[in-house]
């Protein structure tokens, strides 16, 4: 007797699937849902999934304003106005949130919830510690002024520390540990959100000493001096290398994705403004993915110039997965509104174009950020597979995440498996089972 068993199982979106990364911050929904509760955050997740997102990257903080009870950012107590150096945020209800007191732990709970729903789960970690404003200064940073960034003219930046100090790198790694302990399988570090930091604030003792040892003489007053950029880049690189090492020690595979901004074909804004050599990070295998969060396209030739920029990532894609933006917002003048303005197309048409380009040149899209109803239904439909039928024209590389039996029939013979991916991204296995022995069907 032969039976055909159909086994459907959701892998947490294997690395081979076309991914739709959603950057999500419960904070942005605080006036819509009660995001200090588990049910409120589930409502947020429900809303986010309307976009077709299959990878959820939940925000852990804005600067030092934590979304979970962080031991590292605990003292002084995180709430306003308990540290007199912070300015209270009077916005209602945003300025009155106490995520660090929420029960259950928001990050842990949402990581668990994503796993239950078969979603890839991770953290959207901004590369910042201040989020621009004084109400989000980190507690650790406030307690350690000796590690603050300093300008060329000797003025400290009150509240922002420098990764040139080993103590700061260790602090950031402890924060990383907290995220990993809460179940994050992806760490997405967002270089767009740098809180205004740049090499101009890196005139700190370790860098000054390194400069004098290496070059001697006066420090360059121009923070974009190539030699200064190279020097600052070393401590940034050391941090990412340390992050990778930390991830390698995890018992599970944890991916590291870097969000970069203002991609263009004639230069590298990330290196010039952040002193982070992301290409070197990909070459050295430190990254698993690069998410392009915005591109500097030519409004007079929007699609061709965008295509040219995407095409320039071909060599990167050979090493890491690459994601391209479908951004509802226009912070970088490169979101859907900018394309609408440049092309005269509707938002849905723009989203469709961008998704198609991402399919052609990348491994997924990144939605930055999914807030309440900022991706209208027609835009969501345009981004999903239902309107882009058929298999991806460029298949992603397979990556073996785990090897284990998914179906056993003790005393029977099963075999001849094959797998396929549905348009929704589910992976289905089909095999011949309930057999007496190996008989070629």
């Amino acid at each position: 007797m032969k039976k055909i068993f159909l086994v459907t199982f959701l892998l947490s979106l294997t690395a081979g699937a076309f991914e739709r990364l959603a950057l999500v911050d419960g904070f942005d929904y605080a006036n819509i849902f009660d995001t200090e509760t588990a049910s409120g955050n589930r409502q947020v997740l429900d809303h986010v999934l309307l976009t077709g997102a299959n990878t959820i990257l939940w925000r852990n903080c804005s600067g030092g304003l934590m979304r979970y009870p962080s031991a590292e950012e605990r003292l002084p107590l995180a709430a306003n106005p308990l540290d007199m150096r912070r300015l209270p945020d009077s916005r209602v209800p945003f300025g009155w949130l106490n995520y660090h007191l929420a029960q259950p732990d928001i990050i842990r709970d949402m990581m668990d919830e994503c796993a239950k729903r078969g979603l890839a789960r991770g953290i959207h970690w901004p590369y910042e510690e201040t989020h621009w404003s004084n109400w989000t200064l980190g507690a650790w940073n406030l307690a350690h002024p000796q590690f603050w960034g300093v300008t060329a003219n000797g003025k400290p930046w009150s509240g922002r520390t420098s990764l040139a100090f080993p103590e700061v790198r260790a602090h950031k790694l402890r924060l990383l540990d907290e995220l990993l302990a809460r179940g994050a399988d992806i760490i997405y570090i967002d270089l767009f959100r740098n809180g205004g930091w740049g090499p101009q604030y890196e005139y700190v003792k370790p860098n000054i000493e390194a400069w004098r040892t290496r070059h001697g003489g006066e420090l360059p007053t121009n923070p974009r001096d190539p030699r200064w950029l190279a020097l600052v880049a070393e401590s940034q690189h050391a941090f990412f290398r340390a992050v990778r090492a930390r991830l390698e020690k995890q018992p599970r595979k944890v991916r590291l994705i870097l969000g970069i901004m203002n991609a263009r074909t004639d230069g590298d804004n990330v290196y010039e403004s952040r002193a982070i050599d992301w290409r070197r990070l990909t070459d050295e295998g430190i990254l698993d993915g690069v998410a392009v969060m915005s591109v500097v396209f030519d409004p007079k030739d929007a699609w061709n110039s965008t295509r040219a920029i995407y095409r320039s990532f071909a060599s990167v894609r050979g090493k890491v997965r690459v994601y391209f933006p479908v951004a509802a917002y226009n912070y970088s003048q490169a979101g859907i509104p900018a394309y609408v303005k440049a092309t005269g197309e509707s938002p849905a048409q723009v989203a469709k174009h961008l998704t198609e380009l991402a399919r052609e040149y990348g491994d997924g899209i990144v939605m930055e950020c999914v807030d309440y109803k900022n991706y209208p239904p027609d835009v969501c439909a345009a981004m999903t597979n239902e309107t882009i039928r058929g298999a991806a024209r460029v298949q992603a590389r397979a990556e073996i995440l785990w090897t284990r039996p998914i179906c056993k029939q003790p005393g029977r013979y099963i075999g001849w498996p094959t797998v396929s991916r549905t348009p929704q991204g589910d992976i289905m296995a089909l095999f011949s089972g309930d057999r007496d022995e190996h008989v070629c069907p």
Binding site: A30, D34, P81, M84, D89, Q146, K155, G159
Partner: protein, 480 residues
């Protein structure tokens, strides 16, 4: 009560700590922060984190016993004594989520409370606000505090501001000094022992420094900066003789937060210990402060006091000369002032459509397309220039201008700050602080002027009314 074992541990710790920079260590007393010494010097109020919340305790210096005066659910913090032996402090206890509070229409804020031995705790303020860092005028007994009262709740309107308030005769809060602009906080107000001066800490804008300011209590809106450029300072407290302020400070090179002494009249300062949140013992020679979560006591040696300097000359108060009129495109080079301070004064009628974005006046430079600009955004006036790395430096006005109404905007750019005055209102100031140096503006390319701007005056002279207040103006008559 603090457990005996914890006290023992603190004492043991004190024997092994050695500060690398050679600053005196002081005697470690007990676990806690934000100490406040009572006027008679016999007790020290403090806050301490216990079980994830802040409780308020009073340490008896003779018996070394601690009494917890407010250990309710919630946070009790920032204690300060009055002359009458009562203790004021801030207390808050969020009992609902923010969303629930929004639905309810009222928020669990922080308020000023008073503890007096043997009587029930007394709530002095209320409302959906944050009232904190209270203190008591030692002469009049008036309670001063920092507050978010009257601060807008919309992001567009500027929602991160803190001003200085006090409780009036009838117990009603009244504003003493409003925050000059968004992202500005005035906190920790303290009245001098003679009741003549008010000092406070101020934080301004993104990446800015905390600085100390002071004013005559009779005219608190005119204040001067007490701390030197590049020094960060907060938590000021007057010495018993009123000659010095102790504060928490930091300068690049310091091992961490340190206790500084500042002489307000001259600006002289000295670093005396590593720690935070100082308070004076009545002898005027001993400081109590916290370090690493432990309250410490330190008698100051004779050689650590700031060397008294002559009162600062009022260099900023050079007389203003008349404005030189700008007449359009013929004398563009007048606007090539490089790094020289300059002033722009615009008059006209507020254009229609100013609820979005309207440039009133803009000078384009080779160095930056937006080198100098005055504009309206959401109806509010803005004055902006650029730092040397061309990042935006700007001031946002508080109040929307009404289309069709006449206006005058005076904007001043100096080495240290931007100042904007709308009509005859209070000048708004932005210290550059941690930002980069200001951009040199040497090569004007084009001037843009809105047709509703009827007159533009540009000058490299600075109007007296907008210049910073000097120490001499505030402390000229202070005690020697």
């Amino acid at each position: 009560m603090l457990r005996k074992s914890r006290l023992t541990a603190v004492v043991l710790l004190s024997t092994v700590r050695c500060l690398a920079v050679g600053l005196p260590e002081g005697e470690r007393l007990f676990e806690g922060t934000h100490p406040a010494v009572s006027p008679d010097g016999r007790r020290i109020a403090f806050q301490c984190e216990r079980e994830g919340k802040l409780d308020l305790g009073v340490y008896d210096c003779a018996s070394k016993q601690i009494v917890w005066v407010d250990a309710r659910p919630g946070n009790a913090c920032f204690p300060a004594w009055g002359r009458d032996g009562a203790l004021v402090y801030a207390y808050g206890h969020p009992t609902n989520t923010a969303y629930q509070m929004m639905k309810r229409g009222a928020y669990d804020g922080y308020h000023v409370w008073r503890w007096r031995e043997g009587t029930p705790l007394e709530q002095l303020t209320s409302g959906s606000v944050r009232d904190y860092t209270p203190s008591v005028d030692p002469v009049r007994g008036t309670v001063y505090f920092a507050s978010t009262r009257d601060v807008p709740t919309r992001f567009e309107d500027g929602c991160t501001r803190v001003g200085l308030w006090r409780l009036g005769v009838a117990g009603q809060p009244e504003c003493v000094v409003p925050a000059a602009s968004n992202e500005t906080g005035l906190t920790q107000p303290v009245v001098s022992p003679d009741g003549r001066f008010l000092a406070w800490s101020e934080v301004r804008g993104f990446a800015q420094l905390w600085i100390l300011r002071a004013a005559r209590l009779a005219e608190p809106s005119r204040s001067c900066v007490l701390t030197p450029n590049k020094m960060i300072a907060y938590a000021p407290v007057w010495s018993p003789d009123g000659r010095h302020l102790a504060c928490t400070g930091f300068r690049v090179g310091d091992p961490s937060w340190c206790i500084y002494l500042v002489e307000p009249k001259s600006g002289a300062f000295a670093r005396v210990a590593e720690g935070e949140n100082p308070s004076w013992m009545p002898d005027g020679r001993t400081l109590v402060f916290d370090r690493d979560g432990v309250v410490c006591r330190l008698e100051l040696a004779d050689d650590v006091w700031p060397k008294t300097l002559p009162a600062c000359a009022a260099t900023e108060t050079q007389p203003a000369r008349s404005f030189r009129p700008f007449t359009g495109g013929t004398n563009l080079m007048d606007l090539a002032f490089g790094l020289t301070p300059c002033t722009i004064r615009l008059s006209g009628t507020v254009p229609a459509g100013s609820d979005e974005f309207v440039h009133l006046f803009r000078i384009e430079y080779k160095e930056s397309f937006l080198g100098l600009q005055v504009y309206l955004k959401n109806g509010k006036p803005h004055f902006a220039t650029r730092a040397s790395d061309t990042t935006w430096l700007g001031i946002e006005g508080h109040t929307k201008l009404v289309p069709g109404k006449p206006f005058t905007i005076t904007a001043m750019r100096t080495f240290e700050e931007l100042v904007m005055q709308v009509d005859d209102g209070m000048p708004l100031r932005l210290l550059y602080g941690g930002k980069e140096d200001i951009l040199s503006l040497d090569h004007p390319v084009r001037v843009r002027q809105h047709p509703d701007v009827k007159s533009v005056h540009v000058s490299t002279e600075l109007p007296h009314a907008l210049l910073p207040v000097s120490r001499a103006e505030i402390f000229g008559e202070a005690a020697p």
